[in-house]
């Protein structure tokens, strides 16, 4: 049984193992040959090691740590993109991963068609997306171009549509990557405003970011991941300070330090 039945996200002893790419056998022919010879071992990489974690509804958790610490793996198992190699993951409530915008978009389709496709990819129905279309178009400021194939859009227009379609939602849990804001200065401000709206509505919120100030500002709690383990878990400001100090220290040893913790 899960130990925290009211948690929004719960991890119990989660380990994630990856096969090392150079060892991968990706043809059936080779697989059959190796299997016959009885040689099918492969190298492994541990991305998460025995991680246990409870996140309660309404908590806003920032995840910090150097590259390769296991931040994306953590998001992946929570978003159900990958099953844990060992341990258990429980997620209660609707989850919206806002990690990559414009997933499934196709240039030949119109803005409207792409928004619908993207919405159904996130588990919503066509009807629901049609109901939201007016708001999505208004937010993206693309009303006159909604029935134009997006190959005729500028990069900024596509990004605006993707952001608007992805965030016109009401999930219980959000997984957010930094740098989600898109477009010009004015539109970025709109993006930030929308994200702040989720915060005000007390959504459970997970943020991966290298921008420690962003974590301090938006999160109530922070996790510091290192080599697949949670090395520190506590109030956002406290964990960020500790991580920043550590980052400065290690960087001073290697190269001259920069200004901020980014």
């Amino acid at each position: 049984m899960a130990s925290a039945p009211d948690a929004a996200i719960e991890l119990v002893g989660v380990t994630v193992r990856y096969r090392i790419a150079s060892e991968a056998i990706d043809t059936l022919k080779e697989y059959a040959i190796r299997k016959l010879r009885g040689r099918l071992d492969h190298g492994q990489l541990l991305a998460l090691r025995d991680v246990s974690l409870v996140i309660r509804p309404g908590e806003r958790v920032g995840i910090v740590g150097p590259n390769g610490a296991g931040k994306s793996s953590l998001f992946r198992i929570i978003a159900r993109v990958r099953p844990p190699s060992a341990g258990r993951v429980v997620v209660r409530g609707t989850l919206a991963p806002l990690l990559e915008l414009g997933l499934g978009f196709h240039g030949e389709l119109t803005g409207r068609e792409n928004a619908i496709l993207h919405g159904t990819l996130m588990g919503r129905s066509r009807r629901e997306m049609l109901d939201r279309m007016e708001r999505i178009a208004a937010f993206a400021e693309l009303e006159p171009f909604l029935d134009t194939p997006i190959r005729n859009y500028s990069t900024g227009m596509v990004a605006r549509l993707a952001f608007a379609a992805a965030t016109d939602i009401d999930p219980d849990i959000l997984l957010v990557d930094e740098a989600l804001a898109v477009g010009d200065e004015r539109f970025r401000a709109k993006c930030h405003e929308r994200m702040a709206g989720f915060r005000e509505r007390r959504k459970t919120f997970l943020l991966v970011s290298h921008l420690l100030d962003e974590v301090r500002e938006t999160c109530t709690r922070a996790l510091w991941l290192s080599e697949g383990r949670i090395v520190r878990d506590g109030a956002a400001g406290e964990v960020c300070d500790a991580y920043q100090a550590w980052a400065h220290e290690t960087r001073d040893g290697a190269a001259p330090a920069g200004e901020d913790g980014s």
Binding site: A2, D6, R19, A24, D26, T27, L28, K29, Y31, I77, A79, R80, V81, R82, P83, P84, G87, R88, V89, V90, V91, R92, G93, T94, L95, P97, L99, E100, L103, G104, H106, E108, L109, E113, I116, L117, T120, L121, M122, G123, R124, S125, R126, P149, D172
Partner: protein, 274 residues
């Protein structure tokens, strides 16, 4: 917490094949949109899109008519309709199943970023195939009328044949898709397999011309019965015999069940290739 709150539990208790079916149903809207995307792209890209879907089987039919009416000692009466009635299904089957292998690239791109049941890609592929099949009925009816063949009451059996044919296609499609998700050479291997499969199925010839010692190949080929449940009503003008119908139905159910079980058991580990 509300009772209808969706819960994802990696240590889910139900059997895999039940959970996977539930997830596919939950994402049915995506299946439809995915199919619509493929259809729209195909028909938007070229003005000839729709025309091509209709012309393609006609061209093949013409070639086979020329070749086989010269070589067969006992010419089949109205070869064009004889051939098209069977190739309607074969084309649908071959296209939909090999398309699933192509979709694995798409599936990997999407599923490494967001959760969506991978079987949605197979279902979408079958749906696109069905739409193309329905479109290819237009030139078929045209040929039937032009060659003086008749549309008979037995045509009403077509929906039943379509159900069996679709289940069989989905089953094989799941199998191909699952293997192709893990092994990159499966796509080409399957293409190589399709050609002999076409020729051991009575599509361009009558089963009667097969020499006695090779009959068993045709007899043990499930495609023989599936093709026949389309040809009997559309060409011969009668319902398929009970034995044919039984074998076709059995092939459809077994293919789908085996394909689904294989998919459900393997896709999670096979899909992690990326």
């Amino acid at each position: 917490m509300a009772a209808d709150t969706p819960v994802y539990d990696s240590a889910r208790r139900g059997p895999r094949f039940v959970e996977e079916a539930r997830d596919l149903w939950r994402y049915r809207h995506f299946v439809v949109e995915l199919a619509l995307r493929d259809i729209k792209i195909r028909y938007k890209r070229s003005v000839l899109g729709v025309a091509w879907t209709m012309l393609n089987p006609l061209m093949t039919m013409l070639v086979f008519t020329l070749v086989f009416s010269t070589f067969q000692r006992q010419p089949i009466s109205n070869f064009p309709v004889y051939f098209l009635a069977a190739s309607l299904f074969w084309t649908f089957f071959a296209q939909a199943t090999s398309h699933t292998a192509t979709l694995t690239t798409d599936a990997v791109e999407i599923t490494r970023r967001i959760y969506v049941p991978r079987s949605a890609f197979v279902a979408g592929s079958v749906l696109v195939g069905l739409v193309n099949l329905l479109l290819s009925l237009v030139p078929f009816v045209l040929i039937v009328v032009v060659t003086g063949w008749r549309i008979r009451p037995s045509w009403l059996f077509l929906p039943v044949a379509l159900v069996a044919g679709t289940l069989f296609t989905a089953g094989v499609g799941l199998f191909v898709f699952t293997l192709a998700s893990r092994f990159v050479d499966v796509r080409d291997m399957y293409q190589v397999l399709l050609t002999p499969w076409f020729f051991v199925t009575p599509i361009v010839y009558e089963p009667a011309i097969v020499p006695e010692r090779w009959r068993w190949v045709v007899r043990y080929n499930p495609m023989t019965y599936l093709v026949e449940i389309f040809r009997a009503p559309l060409y011969d003008g009668w319902l398929p015999g009970p034995k044919t119908l039984l074998f076709a139905a059995a092939a459809a159910v077994v293919a789908l069940a085996a394909g689904w079980l294989f998919y459900a058991a393997k896709i999670e580990s096979y899909g992690l290739r990326s």
